[in-house]
């Protein structure tokens, strides 16, 4: 089990507000660009998709892989980030 990253801690530590999608853990510039092209430019849009999929891990990861061709680790990091944020603020 790898520890949490600073990006993850920063995102989970506060409300996301209008944060960019690239501030999500596991989402870099590349994946952020792809998500933006797909219409998910903000973090809350990804959160909306996460909620639409009813927080289903597999579905969300599959969606991530389908939309932005994320790897399993990237999808997992993003899922954990959103999941923990929801547990904290939702």
């Amino acid at each position: 089990m790898s520890g949490t990253t600073q990006k993850y801690r920063n995102f989970v530590a506060e409300p996301m507000g209008n944060k960019s999608v690239t501030e999500l853990a596991g989402i870099g510039e590349t994946l952020g660009g792809r998500l933006t092209e797909a219409g998910f430019d903000k973090a809350y849009t990804v959160l909306g998709q996460y909620l639409v999929l009813k927080k289903d891990e597999e579905l969300f990861k599959d969606w991530m892989k389908d939309v932005c061709h994320a790897s399993s680790k990237q999808a997992s990091d993003c899922y954990n980030c959103l999941n923990d944020w929801c547990e904290e603020f939702l």
């Binding site: 797909a38 219409g39 998910f40 998709q49 639409v52 999929l53 009813k54 289903d56 597999e58 579905l59 990861k61 599959d62 969606w63 892989k65 389908d66 939309v67």
Partner: protein, 426 residues
């Protein structure tokens, strides 16, 4: 293929109804989630499509390699879930699920095999029920070995438990014999035992020597005469520290106690040839050394009262601290005590000195001692205490020894008396 086309052309509501009918979760179908949900539905239906393989061939290959030793029976078990996914996402997840289960079963089997000995080892100290272990072990030999190990360990523990009280008893016995066996190394004990053996030999040698020699060994500087008490009463408390034995002598006494017990009492009384302390047992006057210590300071323990006289007689030259005479006399603290003793026993001391030929006669006796430095301690005791009368008597004794002056003086006295009688009558 018709189903697949239907899924692609199916409306969101129909697709959602289809998913519900397949037992999938009721997830709203949106444009963004439609694709994922269709994949999930296809995976649940078991339909396999070729485009998925073309979409993500790498992933499928990777996952195939991830299950290298998957048993053939496991694949049919997961036949409902296609191994290869149509587009690399949905079936992939299902495939991963199936593979995970397969891999998990394999891993579980292996892990279970690995864990079993650990669990058994962990359960051994916990004292797990033997019936459970036997049931599990019925198919494996390792468990049988483990079961066999358990009774082997139990006797060891029992032996250890039995050994502990033995040790304690042993120490208790030694302490009963003599409580001074403490914190002595084995080497020192060996040395002390060797010295004890030497002393025993000296004791036997002392038997052959004439008895008056013991008188010559008596000390005049620090011996005092107690007429009121008997020697036997004083024995447990008597302790002579004049002998200049090394400090280690204090410890081997206990180990050599049995050896000294074997020695007859007469021999024990003659052991003073190696020391200068006076033997109060052989002395009818009850003289004993001036170093009388309290019972707490005495090395003779209460647990061995029968041995007390022997120890007391032996302790004169074995247990005495070597440098104490120097320390006691040179220290200012002990001067007062010495003064007390001198005040009370000064006359007796002078008398004892007068009885002896010379204080240096003990040198020759001390020279026979293995220690060899005994007379030095005597020299340092009270060199200035020699009074005029004692010196005069010594001078007379020396003259008597040199010129046989007594007989001459006796003749001279007789002659003077005859002259006096002659003058009286004439």
């Amino acid at each position: 293929m018709a189903d697949l086309d239907d899924f692609d052309t199916m409306s969101d509501a129909d697709l959602r109804a289809k998913m519900i009918s397949q037992g999938l979760p009721n997830i709203p179908v949106t444009n963004s989630s439609r694709k994922v949900l269709v994949k999930r539905l296809r995976a649940s239906l078991g339909g396999q499509t070729t485009p998925a393989v073309a979409a993500s061939p790498k992933k499928s290959n990777k996952r195939e390699t991830l299950v290298p030793a998957a048993p053939s029976a496991a694949a049919p078990a997961a036949a409902s879930i296609p191994v290869d996914k149509p587009d690399g996402v949905k079936p992939g997840s299902a495939a991963t699920k199936g593979r995970r289960t397969i891999a998990s079963t394999m891993n579980d089997n292996k892990a279970a095999e690995r864990r079993r000995p650990e669990e058994l080892v962990a359960k051994k100290p916990a004292g797990a029920a033997p019936t459970q272990t036997q049931r599990r072990i019925s198919s494996s030999s390792e468990r049988r070995e483990v079961v066999l190990e358990r009774p082997v360990k139990k006797p060891e523990r029992i032996v250890e438990e039995v050994a502990v009280p033995k040790r304690t008893n042993y120490h208790e016995n030694t302490l009963e014999v003599n409580s001074m066996i403490v914190l002595e190394s084995d080497e020192e004990e060996d040395e002390q035992l060797a010295r004890a053996a030497d002393l025993v030999e000296l004791q036997y040698k002392a038997k052959e020597q004439p008895k008056p020699r013991s008188k010559l060994t008596t000390t005049t500087t620090n011996t005092y005469e107690y007429t009121g008490k008997s020697a036997a009463q004083m024995a447990p408390q008597v302790y002579s520290s004049k002998a200049m034995d090394p400090p280690r002598r204090q410890a081997y006494e206990s180990s050599a106690a049995t050896a000294f017990n074997m020695v007859p009492s007469s021999a024990v009384s003659r052991t003073q040839t190696s020391s200068s302390s006076y033997d109060y047992l052989s002395n009818p006057t009850g003289r004993y050394s001036s170093f009388v210590r309290s019972p707490t300071q005495s090395y003779v323990t209460a647990a061995a009262p029968a041995l007390a006289p022997v120890f007391a007689s032996n302790s004169g030259h074995r247990r005495s601290p070597p440098r104490q005479p120097f320390a006691n006399e040179l220290s200012d603290e002990n001067e007062a005590d010495d003064g007390q003793y001198e005040s009370t026993f000064a006359r007796n001391l002078a008398r004892q000195r007068s009885d002896r030929n010379s204080p240096y006669s003990r040198r020759t006796i001390a020279s026979t001692d293995t220690m060899g430095y005994e007379f030095q301690a005597r020299r340092s005791l009270r060199p200035e205490e020699v009074s005029v009368s004692v010196a005069f008597r010594r001078w007379l004794t020396s003259l008597n020894g040199a010129y046989n002056l007594k007989s001459k003086m006796f003749i001279l006295l007789v002659v003077i008396l005859l002259i006096g009688v002659y003058l009286v009558f004439h």
